[in-house]
Each structure stands twice: as structure tokens, then as C-alpha cells.
């Protein structure tokens, strides 16, 4: 395949990076000879001058199938779509620019347009940055080709499969979602949940919530009853024993789980099987300041020793009830777009990396070394030498990704759950929804299609200019 593999390098050169080569296996490119192109003026005259009509006729046979397909299924529909966009939803009556006005005023479509702008601003640059970092990193690692293959692999799978995959990564539950499992593990390592999270005072008990804890007022000599509910029986510590009210005297009380398993207990009363809650930190406050702290015993009893007689606030400290951190709602309304963009980066970073790697390999080594010899740090070399030299490649990557991001559809449709699909909406998805997803509004749908078309026009011009430049 040696002979054959060379010209492919040429293809990539011409199409994507012009001037660099980008196979994953990292072989050095060899451009095919370009000097005697048939398109060059010299070549033209040498051709069979005698039979121009025959050439024309042959060209018809070669071109006709493709041109007919393109005319009927691509070119003419564009015109028809423009026509439809100026008509009512069923195409029956002319409505002028109404659909366009609606497009920018209706909240759903406007939201989609705004989201698309966010995508265009954020996603291509992040992917490119990621690709650049990877490209620089893999210059210094051993199994670079393995890494390249791994990072490039998502390009092979469909957005649908990627969406299914990331649905699992973003699952709300820390038990199932990879990302939330990681986040919760890290969070819990620094601030673990308390034993009694979820417990709360029995309704009607004279306990009020204060800053996550529960408090009541009492005077010395009375017994403070603190009935809690909302705690599953299996989270009561094993050493807990049935609760008992302390004898009077001093400031004392009991904290217990006021729920008889299987029902039947009386609210606010210590029923025989109801257990005390051990090891709860209880504070006594006077004039807002903590004057004493104690802990409950296995039967839920607590007592403050040596307090002066009088009225106190008795508080179950908030740190008994620290709720567990349940992870982040990645696909909720506020984070859904960033989360989808993250999945997009996962898919496309490999693409950027491979192109930029090719760009980097074209940088003359002496330029980098010269800078290093001059005493520049690696960061300076990167900023001042590497980046400027690969800039043309970066531009190509950015433009390519921008076009791609403008048309983003499947990933949003599959990854955004129904409840936040409106928050994640983009133009292409909204176009599908209004025209086929039950709306049947072909007018508005066409207007959105035209908008997309207008948005990719600059890229179209960019392509044409690049192509013409390469012609010469």
C-alpha cells in the first residue's frame, strides 16, 4: 500500500489542514507531486483539441446523475424552503416576514437561538484548547498512539450512542451516575453526613428549627421531651436502648425516636419500644450564648450538670443532622447545556488533537530549541513559539467545529431529559420540533432552517476561498 498511501496524505492536506498531515499512526507525510496539474494552463492546450464537443457530451454523462440529484434534493429545496418560510404553517397564505418575527420573539425559539450562541462561543474554543493541550502532552509520552486512538475513538460512535452513554454518566443518583458517585465520594471525604440526617421534630412538639438544629426553651427542674421522627429504624445506632425520661432536677431531658415500628404509638409520648437516640450533641444556651454542652446516652437521656437555676434554650446542635450531599443535577435546567457541551468535548477533542498534532509535527524543531537555548521557560516557548506557529491549524479546527456546533441536534435531543429539553434547546432541534415534532408549523420550521443556512454562510465562503487559493 505504499504507493497508495501517499496520495491520501495529499487529500487531507488539501481538504482539512493544507500543509500538514494527520494520521493517527503518525507516519510522516509525503505530498504527491503537484507540479504538472492538468488544470494548469499549460496542460490545457495539450489536450485533444480536435473533439471539444465529444468532451462536452462525455462530461454530461459523467455529471448528469450527481447534478440531477443535487438539483432536485438540495438546490431546489433551499429555494422552496425560503418560499415556505414566508408562508403560513400549512403553506396556504403569504405572511411576509411573520415567521421570522415570531422566531426572534417566541420564547422557545429565542431561547434556542441564545443557546446556540452559547454553544458557538464556548464549545469550539474549549475543544480546540483541549486538543492543543493533548497534542502538546502526547509529544512527551510513551504510548502516544494508544492514547490518540482512545481519545479519537468517540468520533466513531453515533451521537445517539454517546447520548445514551452520557445519560449514564450524568445519572442523578450517586448510586448509579459515575460523575455524581465521584463528586459525592470526594465531598463526603471532607464533610461526611451525620448519623441522624433527615430526622425532624414530631409535629406538634414544642421544638423549632434553628439553623439546621432544633431548639426549645426550658427552665431547670423540668424534663425536656424532644421527640424526633423521620428517621428509618435501621439508622438508629445498635447500642440504642428504649428511651426513658430522666428524673427531675437540674436541666435534663430525653431525645428519642417517637415512632413505634408497625404504628400504634402515641405522638409525643415515650412508648415502650421507642428507642432513645444516643450520641446527640445537646447545647444549653442563655442569652444566645452556649453555656453548656452534653451528649445523649444510649437511652437518649441528657443532663447538664452545674447550671444555675433559670430559663435556658436547649438546642440539638445542627451538626447532628447534616444532610448527605446527593450530587449535582447535571441535566437539570441550569447545568444541562454545560453538561451536554462536556459530552461534546469528549467526542470531538480527539479530532482537534489529531489535527493539531499534525500541525505541531510540521513546526521546525530548531525554532523551539532556539527559544529554549535563549532561556525561555516551557510555558513561554509554548505561548510565544508553538501557538503562533500552529495558528493556521487552530483556525481550521475552530471553523470546522463552529459549523458543526451550529448544526448540533442529536446530542441535545438524546441527552437532555424531557423536563429540561426546553432549557437545552438549540436551533436545529427546535426546527425539528416545530415542523415534525407535533407542531407541523412548516412556516416557522422553514424560517429556522433558513436561519441555520445563513449562519453557516460565512463558513461556506471560507471554504470557497480556501479552495480557490489551493487551486492556484
Amino acid at each position: 500500500m505504499t504507493r497508495a498511501s501517499e496520495p491520501v496524505g495529499e487529500v487531507v492536506t488539501a481538504v482539512a489542514v493544507h500543509g500538514s498531515q494527520a494520521p493517527v499512526d503518525g507516519q510522516t507525510p509525503t505530498a504527491a507531486p503537484r507540479a504538472d496539474r492538468p488544470g494548469a494552463p499549460g496542460a490545457r492546450s495539450a489536450r485533444r483539441e480536435g473533439q471539444p464537443w465529444k468532451d462536452k457530451l462525455t462530461s454530461v454523462w459523467f455529471l448528469a446523475p450527481a447534478v440531477i440529484v443535487l438539483l432536485t434534493l438540495v438546490a431546489y429545496p433551499i429555494v422552496y424552503t425560503v418560499w415556505l418560510s414566508l408562508h403560513s404553517s400549512d403553506g396556504a397564505s403569504f405572511v411576509g416576514i411573520d415567521n421570522y418575527v415570531r422566531m426572534f420573539t417566541a420564547p422557545e425559539t429565542r431561547h434556542a437561538i441564545v443557546n446556540n450562541i452559547v454553544w458557538v462561543v464556548v464549545a469550539p474554543s474549549l475543544v480546540t484548547a483541549m486538543g492543543l493541550v493533548f497534542a502538546v502532552l502526547i509529544e512527551r509520552v510513551r504510548l502516544a498512539s494508544v492514547f490518540k486512538a482512545v481519545v479519537f475513538m468517540p468520533m466513531a460512535i453515533s451521537f445517539l450512542a454517546a447520548g445514551v452513554t452520557f445519560r449514564m454518566v450524568y445519572d442523578e443518583s450517586p448510586d448509579r451516575g459515575l460523575l455524581n458517585a465521584a463528586v459525592v465520594t470526594v465531598h463526603d471525604a471532607f464533610s461526611p453526613p451525620s448519623q441522624y440526617f433527615g430526622a425532624r421534630p414530631r409535629d406538634g412538639a414544642p421544638l423549632t428549627e434553628a439553623a439546621g438544629g432544633f431548639e426549645t426553651t426550658a427552665t431547670t427542674g423540668t424534663t425536656v421531651l424532644m421527640p424526633l421522627v423521620g428517621l428509618p429504624q435501621d439508622r438508629v445506632p445498635a447500642d440504642a436502648v428504649p428511651a426513658a425520661a430522666p428524673p427531675g432536677g437540674g436541666l435534663a431531658g430525653v431525645v428519642w425516636l417517637d415512632f413505634t415500628p408497625g404504628g400504634g404509638g402515641t405522638a409525643g409520648v415515650i412508648d415502650p419500644v421507642e428507642r432513645g437516640l444516643p450520641a446527640i450533641t445537646v447545647q444549653a444556651l442563655r442569652d444566645g450564648a452556649v453555656v453548656a454542652t452534653t451528649q445523649t446516652g444510649p437511652d437518649g437521656r441528657f443532663a447538664f450538670a452545674g447550671l444555675a437555676d433559670g430559663g435556658y434554650t436547649v438546642r440539638l446542635s445542627p451538626d447532628n443532622f447534616t444532610a448527605p450531599f446527593n450530587g449535582v443535577t447535571w441535566l437539570g435546567p441550569s447545568l444541562v447545556t454545560p453538561s451536554i457541551i462536556l459530552a461534546y468535548i469528549w467526542i470531538w477533542a480527539g479530532f482537534a488533537m489529531v489535527l493539531i498534532t499534525a500541525g505541531l509535527s510540521a513546526i521546525p524543531r530548531d525554532a523551539l530549541e532556539a527559544a529554549r537555548v535563549d532561556g525561555a521557560s516551557e510555558w513561554q516557548v509554548f505561548r510565544r513559539v508553538t501557538v503562533p506557529l500552529v495558528r493556521p491549524v487552530l483556525v481550521v479546527v475552530l471553523v470546522t467545529l463552529t459549523i458543526n456546533v451550529l448544526k448540533i441536534f442529536d446530542l441535545v435531543m438524546v441527552l437532555a431529559p424531557e423536563s429540561s429539553q426546553d432549557d437545552a434547546n438549540v436551533i436545529a432541534l427546535q426546527m425539528y420540533r416545530v415542523s415534525f415534532g407535533g407542531g407541523l408549523d412548516f412556516g416557522l420550521g422553514s424560517a429556522l432552517g433558513v436561519l441555520l443556512f445563513l449562519l453557516v454562510l460565512p463558513a461556506m465562503l471560507f471554504n470557497i476561498r480556501r479552495m480557490r487559493r489551493e487551486q492556484r
Binding site: A4, R48, M153, Y432
Partner: protein
């Protein structure tokens, strides 16, 4: 394989540099380089794991029961590998709608790819090697069509297919894919064909070859690598498509992407079908990827302009 920085440093020390300079620098930079490269290796390895984790997760999940998947994360198999089962795949093999749609994907993808390659190669040859008036303009127009979003054509094409009575059929899906695959195919192949040495073609003409013979005997064999890249790109594009299928296929003629999406939406949504189904739909592209990595990458890179 990329070049190891360490081995290059000595080569690049310029001959004229003062004798005291190089050894000192080189020692320091070697030390820093060693330390740094270990760190870099670790960072890259971690990133590689990040990149693999989602796909591994899908693969593992597809091998777990619905009950397991709905209660614990896939990584719990690390401690309980015995809970893995092939039941989901066995069930999938009995699930007619999934199998049928997987077959539909093949029925859609193969003709779409072949037609794009054939029609594209013919047109590209004409645009590269046959003189006719307006050739350059035609080519510019075709290049312009490359980035046209499908959204600007789906409604009219749906109506057109409807009036022809083919709406919802596999043929309609193929026709649309071919239409939107052609501009890029022509662009790619034409550029490639231009690079074929003129002498080869001239020699063939001298031997009295007609255009079609030259096309078949000279251009196609030489153009094979480009055609392979194009074919792989087009194949993946169609294989992975969801939008065109959603718009143009009825559920009987729908490809796997469509069916899996239906499964995701249906209230009795079968987690045990979506997991293995999605994984199965990835197998073909992944095999293509690993078997033809070079053409694959070139095809995807080249096609990314779409």
C-alpha cells in the same frame, strides 16, 4: 510515533555554542525533563481512563440485569464480576424490532455509501479531467453545497417524497443521504484525481482509451485510497445518523438509531434493550475504526468540513 524529546537534545546543540554552556543546561533540562515526563505520563494515563470510562460503562451496563442497573452503578462489578450476564444480548437477539432496525441500518448504509462513491467519482472525474464550459463555476457551486444544513431541505424533500409515494421508505432515506453526501464526495475525489500524474492519463489516451475506460482502468485504481477514506466517512455518517431517519423513515423502515430513541422514550422503556442495543450499534463503527484506522482518521478529518 512522536519523537522523544530527550533523545533529540544532544543532536540539536549547535556546534558554535560556548563549551561551558551546553553541559550545564543539558543536565538541568534532562533532570527537569525526566521528572516532568513522568508527571506527564501519569496525567495522560489519567486522561485516557477518563476518555474510556463512559464507553466501558456502557459496555458493562449492557451486561448487567435491569434490576442491577437500576440500583447500583456499573463499577460495582469490580467487586462482583459474577453478576455479569449475557441475558440482555440473548433477549436482544429475540427482539425483532431491534434486529429488524439493525438490518435496516445496513440496508440504508450500504447503498448510500456505494451510490455516493460511484456518482461522486464520476462527477469528480469530469470536473477534474474533462474540459467543458462553466466547469470551475460548477465546482464552486458544489463546494458551496458542502456545508448546507439538512434543515434547509428536509421539509421540501419530505413533501417531494410524499408526492412521489416513497415517503417513509428506505429508498427515500437513501436518496436524501446520497444528495447530502455528494457535494463533499465530489470535492474530495476531484482534488485527489487532480493529483494523478497527467502522463498516466495521457498515455492511456494515446492508447486510444475513451474517458470511461480511462476512468475505470486508471483513475479508480489510483484513486482507491481516497475512495476508501470517502467510503468510510460516508458509511459512518449514515450509520450514525438520527435526524434523517427521524424525518424520512417510518418505524418499519427505521434504522437502529431511530429504534433505540423510540425505546428510550417509550414508557416501558427497556433499559435492558437500550444498553446492549446502543453498544451493538457502536460495534460496527468501532471495528471499522480499529481495522482501518488510517483511512478512518483521514476520512473523518477530511469530512469534518461538512
Amino acid at each position: 510515533m512522536s519523537v522523544d524529546i530527550d533523545t533529540r537534545v544532544p543532536d540539536l546543540v549547535p556546534a558554535g555554542v560556548a563549551p561551558t554552556g551546553p553541559p550545564r543546561r543539558s543536565l538541568v533540562s534532562r533532570l527537569v525533563g525526566r521528572l516532568g515526563s513522568t508527571a506527564v505520563n501519569v496525567v495522560v494515563a489519567v486522561l485516557g481512563v477518563f476518555w474510556l470510562a463512559p464507553v466501558v460503562g456502557l459496555a458493562v451496563a449492557s451486561l448487567r440485569t435491569t434490576a442491577d442497573n437500576s440500583s447500583t452503578g456499573w463499577w460495582t462489578v469490580l467487586t462482583e464480576p459474577s453478576r455479569l450476564t449475557l441475558d440482555n444480548y440473548a433477549a436482544l437477539m429475540r427482539n425483532e424490532s431491534v434486529l429488524h432496525s439493525l438490518w435496516n441500518t445496513v440496508l440504508i448504509t450500504v447503498p448510500s455509501t456505494v451510490l455516493v462513491v460511484v456518482l461522486g467519482a464520476l462527477a469528480a472525474y469530469a470536473l477534474a479531467w474533462i474540459e467543458f464550459p462553466g466547469r470551475d463555476w460548477l465546482f464552486v457551486l458544489i463546494v458551496a453545497l458542502i456545508v448546507v444544513p439538512v434543515q434547509v431541505a428536509i421539509i421540501p424533500d419530505a413533501k417531494l417524497f410524499g408526492s412521489l409515494g416513497v415517503y417513509g421508505s428506505i429508498a427515500a432515506v437513501i436518496a436524501f443521504h446520497v444528495a447530502f453526501g455528494l457535494p463533499f464526495a465530489i470535492f474530495l475525489l476531484r482534488n485527489f484525481f487532480l493529483a494523478i500524474p497527467k502522463d498516466l492519463l495521457e498515455a492511456a489516451r494515446m492508447d486510444g482509451g475513451r474517458d470511461f475506460t480511462i476512468f475505470r482502468r486508471v483513475v479508480l485504481p489510483i484513486g482507491w485510497p481516497a475512495i476508501a477514506s470517502l467510503a468510510i466517512f460516508q458509511f459512518l455518517w449514515v450509520w450514525n445518523d438520527l435526524l434523517v431517519a427521524l424525518v424520512f423513515a417510518t418505524s418499519d423502515n427505521a434504522p437502529i438509531t431511530y429504534t433505540l430513541r423510540e425505546q428510550m422514550r417509550a414508557f416501558s422503556s427497556n433499559v435492558d434493550v437500550i444498553g446492549p442495543g446502543a453498544f451493538l450499534s457502536m460495534v460496527v463503527p468501532l471495528v471499522v475504526f480499529f481495522a482501518f484506522q488510517r483511512y478512518f482518521v483521514q476520512g473523518v478529518l477530511a469530512g469534518s468540513v461538512k
